[in-house]
């Protein structure tokens, strides 16, 4: 075989082989598991640098349980991340976004590569002085030193300006509240929250704080105080799906539990289910209201069975719903 033929054959094998490999590899079905992915990118709040997917800690396992449940309910990755980061102090993204406070982190390696390539280029143009070292005492390079110094100062200045610019808006995906001057909601009184909300009534990310405050009122049984905040979140165009659903579900339950307003309650649950069709809470509460308010145990039975089809239910929830299902399917009145 002549050298020429050998070369041609080799090039052909390299090109065809490379292409076939690329096609085979790139068309491989993705086995990316959302739960696993989310588990990898969120830091376990009580661990040391471990993700919630890797950690055996109880809190990490709880959080993974929540992730599984939310994925099963059909929430988006963003909504689930938002919920986890806002409900667990100390949980942060391990995959820093290329924006806000961590944009610089992504830019720096690229800048280093460029300056490395720049140094090599410069060295090739100016052999004998391979790197822009300040060559003090060498008159002939005075001009060069000046240029080098200016470039150095300029790039340092640029880095500082860029860093300052991005640090200014150090908003991670969950720092809506932090931007309002509050770091940890647990330490904030209801009055302060009311004041912050009143002062930032049009802030696009106020919904997180509204929900937190409403939740406190709700848990304390003060439906009247909770109502306007939930309503505002439910009507807000800036609310995430998760926030809207949480608000709608609470509104529905308060309407029934506080005012026996069956129709209004069912309307709220239906709105919630439009956003998140598999939301366990919405389905379950709608079933309860249908059973108790509309005296329609058959419709309730249907809903309860639907929930139980999910594999992701925590055990105690499952037992609760199974008990209700048993009672409703026998036509008993609701407890």
């Amino acid at each position: 075989m002549s050298e020429r033929v050998r070369n041609l054959l080799s090039v052909a094998v390299l090109i065809v082989g490379g292409l076939v490999i690329a096609v085979v590899v790139l068309t491989a079905p993705s086995d990316a598991d959302r739960v696993e992915h989310l588990g990898q990118i969120i830091k376990c709040p009580v661990c040391q640098g471990e993700s919630i997917g890797d950690s055996p800690a109880d809190m990490a396992r709880d959080m993974m349980g929540l992730v599984e449940q939310r994925v099963a309910e059909g929430f988006s990755d963003e909504a689930i991340i938002d919920e986890l980061l806002s409900s667990y102090t100390g949980a942060v993204l391990l995959d820093p976004p290329a924006s806000g406070a961590t944009l610089l982190l992504w830019l720096l390696p690229g800048m280093a590569l460029l300056s490395g390539a720049g140094v090599i280029w410069w060295w090739q143009r100016n052999p004998g002085e391979e790197i822009a070292v300040p060559t003090a005492g060498q008159a002939r390079s005075g001009g060069r030193m000046l240029v080098g110094g200016l470039i150095l100062a300029g790039s340092l200045g640029l880095i500082v300006v860029v860093a300052g610019f991005f640090l200014q808006d150090r908003a991670g995906p969950n720092s809506g509240v932090a931007n309002l001057g509050v770091e940890n909601l647990d330490e904030v009184s209801n009055e302060t929250m009311e004041a912050v909300i009143a002062a930032n009534i049009n802030h696009p990310q106020i919904n997180g704080m509204r929900l937190a405050l409403a939740e406190r009122y709700y848990l304390a049984g003060d439906y009247q105080a909770a109502f306007p905040h939930y309503l505002s979140v439910a009507e807000s165009a800036n609310a995430t799906d998760l926030e809207s659903v949480s608000a709608l579900v609470r509104l529905g339950w308060m309407a029934w539990d506080g005012n026996q307003a069956t129709e209004a309650a069912l309307g709220m649950f239906d709105q919630a289910l439009e956003i998140a069709p598999e939301s366990t809470t919405a389905l379950y509460l709608k079933g309860q209201v249908l059973w108790c308010g509309s005296s329609d145990p058959e419709a309730a039975t249907e809903l309860f069975s639907e929930i139980l089809e999910s594999d992701e239910l925590p055990d105690d929830t499952r037992r609760l719903i199974e008990a209700d299902l048993a009672a409703a399917s026998q036509g008993l009145a609701c407890a």
Binding site: R6, V24, T27, A28, A101, T102, L113, G116, Q138, S175
Partner: protein
């Protein structure tokens, strides 16, 4: 008694260090011989006495030493009692000092053979570094403090005064349970320290060469063996650390981009770049300034790594306590950086004699690419590790930088490095004919692509695995091709056998072939990681005794829970039998160890198999059932083997340097 002995050792060492600095500086200034043997001996003897006192204390359970009262226990078995000497902050600096004094002694022996200004100046620099560490032990991190007020099983108050009246507790708490769980913990830190500390020697020679304005590669030659020793041990230390994590921490992984792991990886990356660029300077007189920058960076990164691990700045399993040692190390780091780079900047005439590169398709061109990639790699690890700390320190904002960030950048970089590693050895120095490089790469590249194709079609469609196999085959193929090409050339001239020819080729440039052994080790690591990370499987099951699960071809039956009580620990676990294709493979016993106290250390169990490991760890265990996580890690043993091969290449290269110094001809096999 031991406090006195140990403190005396430290003082003797510190005295030796001071004398080494003063006499070294004076010998360098006046260019005359001074007695440096005495100071070097004092330094070494003192550090041996200090470590000896510590070991005697451990062997005799002397809890009057505060360090032992807080970190040792009579129940700690051999060899963990020996390793307790470096299981916590103060003790680990004793080991550091011993290793540093040892390296200094070898540098002195080198100086004895050819006493000159470079040697005496380097010893003076080593003296300064020694002084810093022995000074630390005499002040903020004293390992020989006497316990003056004992608690139940710890020391509540201690005094640095060795003659203070001791109030010793009856027993201590023992070292961190995680450190008692595996024999690797006794070996891994000394390896890592040999690596970290060894990098002080090339730094000292570089600093000395700058200080006495001595251009040329002499400082590289002088420190080459120390650099190789350090690099090889650092390699072993890192891989053993990964192995330890895999065997002891029950998450089934070996590398988590934990700041402490990163702290050891950064100097390794820079030292690797330095090993390559040093060759370029020795051969082509290029990259002089760059070599100074690299060696200063590598040394600074070891100090930074020590700061990160030892100051409690980062909380992880490796970080023991918070103490005044943090500011001291940070101050020393700043001092090193400022002093080195100021000196560097004022010695432009030493560093700026560099000819232009003739062709990028040459050995020096590929070393340049290798250096660019390795330093960017180190930079990424540095930025990713320190960015969250700096951001939080200055703005209070908490961000997480974890595995996803590092993997996204480091994985592509690693593959680029593999590619350059494939082409590099095929390129001759200077300005070679491109067709020669093509002829050398042609066949290996075709074989590699075909092998990649087979992998993709028959084994897995995972892109990373296919890429690792393809590039790995290219690297190995090019090396094999070079060996065959040169052996043939030798045998063509006369009638020697091919095997004999190959022997001669290797003998003619052992250092080069030793380097290629390390390259093959890197390929093994890359393939091992690619398989284990991408083709592993994971499941978690709750099992009751008698239950059987099928997982990744294994049939796992939960036989029963078990409990073992020994003198120093209680082990509770689940016993499972493992079958594969109906045949008994072994028994796997994931467990939790309790060392006194209630905190159990989850301890995984591994069944190793040539095709990969079965890994089981216990999540929860009660009388009725056990929650167990199972993982498979295909071909993960390649990673451990590869680490050993890389280090072996380093050690072999070191021996080669020695035997070849006589035939100092400028010969490499890659030259035509």
């Amino acid at each position: 008694m031991l406090a006195t002995l140990g403190s005396a050792g430290l003082i003797v060492s510190a005295l030796g260090a001071v004398l080494l600095v003063t006499r070294g500086v004076s010998a360098t200034r006046s260019d005359t011989r001074r007695d440096l043997r005495g100071p070097a001996r004092l330094l070494l003897a003192g550090s041996i006495v200090a470590m000896g006192a510590m070991q005697i204390g451990l062997a005799t359970d002397d809890f009057s030493l505060a360090y032992l009262a807080n970190h040792h226990s009579t129940a700690t078995p051999f060899p963990f009692d020996v390793a307790t000497a470096w299981a916590a902050l103060e003790g680990s600096i004793v080991l550091w000092g011993l290793v540093l004094a040892g390296f200094t002694w070898f540098a002195y022996r080198r100086y004895e053979r050819s006493p000159d200004r470079l040697g005496s100046a380097a010893l003076a620099v080593l003296g300064v570094v020694n002084l810093f560490f022995f000074g630390l032990m005499l002040t903020v991190a004293n390992p020989f403090e006497v316990c003056v007020q004992a608690g139940a099983s710890s020391c509540l108050e201690s005094s640095p005064w060795p003659f203070a009246t001791a109030d010793a507790p009856v027993n201590g708490p023992g070292p961190n349970p995680l450190l008692q769980n595996n024999i690797m913990m006794a070996i891994h830190p000394p390896m890592l320290y040999l690596g970290y500390v060894g990098l002080t020697v090339p730094f000292a020679y570089a600093f000395a060469a700058l200080a006495i304005s001595m251009p040329g590669p002499e400082w590289l030659r002088r420190s080459h063996r120390s650099t190789l020793v350090a690099w090889s041990f650092l390699t072993l230390g890192i891989v053993l650390g990964g192995w330890w994590a895999y065997e002891v921490l029950s998450w089934g992984g070996y590398w988590a981009w934990d700041p402490v792991e990163n702290a050891s990886l950064m100097p390794w990356l820079v030292a690797t770049a330095f090993l390559h660029s040093g060759l370029v300077q020795q051969r082509r007189n290029m990259l002089q300034a760059w070599n100074f920058v690299l060696v200063i960076s590598a040394f600074s990164l070891t100090i930074l790594g020590t700061f990160l691990t030892r100051s409690g700045t980062i909380n992880s399993v490796h970080s023991f306590t918070q103490s005044a040692i943090g500011p001291a190390l940070l101050g020393f780091l700043v001092l090193v950086l400022v002093a080195s780079f100021t000196l560097f900047a004022t010695r432009a005439h030493v560093v700026s004699t560099s000819p232009r590169i003739d062709s990028f398709l040459s050995r020096e061109g590929s070393f340049l690419a290798n250096n660019l990639l390795l330093t960017i790699y180190a930079f990424i690890v540095l930025v990713g590790t320190t960015y969250p700390l700096i951001l939080e320190a200055f703005t209070g904002t908490q961000v997480g930088v974890g595995e996803p960030f590092f993997n996204r950048l480091a994985v592509p970089l690693s593959f680029l490095l593999l590619l350059v590693m494939g082409f590099g050895p095929a390129t001759p120095w200077g300005n070679p004919d491109p067709s020669l490089v093509w002829r050398r790469v042609r066949t290996p590249a075709v074989v590699a692509v075909l092998l990649g194709l087979v992998t993709a079609l028959a084994l897995t469609r995972n892109g990373w695995v296919v890429l690792a196999v393809t590039l790995g085959a290219l690297v190995v193929g090019v090396i094999a091709g070079l060996a065959v090409e040169q052996a043939r050339r030798r045998t063509r001239k006369d009638s020697r056998s091919f095997g004999r020819g190959l022997q001669e080729v290797i003998a003619a440039d052992t250092a080069f072939w030793a380097g290629q052994v390390s390259h093959i080790g890197v390929v093994l690591i890359a393939v091992g990681i690619a398989f284990a990370a991408n083709l592993g499987t994971h499941t978690e099951v709750e099992m009751e005794p008698g239950d059987t699960v099928f997982f990744a071809g294994f049939e796992l039956t939960y036989e029963s829970p078990f409990q073992e009580v020994t003198q120093h620990k209680t082990t509770r676990g689940a016993r499972l039998t493992v079958l594969r294709d109906g045949r008994f493979v072994g028994i796997i016993e994931p467990s939790a160890n309790f060392f006194g106290g209630n905190t159990g250390v989850s301890t995984p169990d591994v069944i190793s198999h040539p095709r990969g490991d079965l890994y089981a760890s216990l999540i929860d265990l009660d009388s009725e059932s056990a929650d167990i996580a199972f993982d498979t890690s295909p071909l993960i043993w390649l990673l451990w083997l590869g680490g050993g091969v890389v280090a072996a290449g380093g050690f072999w290269s070191m021996r080669a340097r020695k035997s070849e110094r006589t035939e100092a001809s400028e010969r490499t096999t890659a030259d035509v």
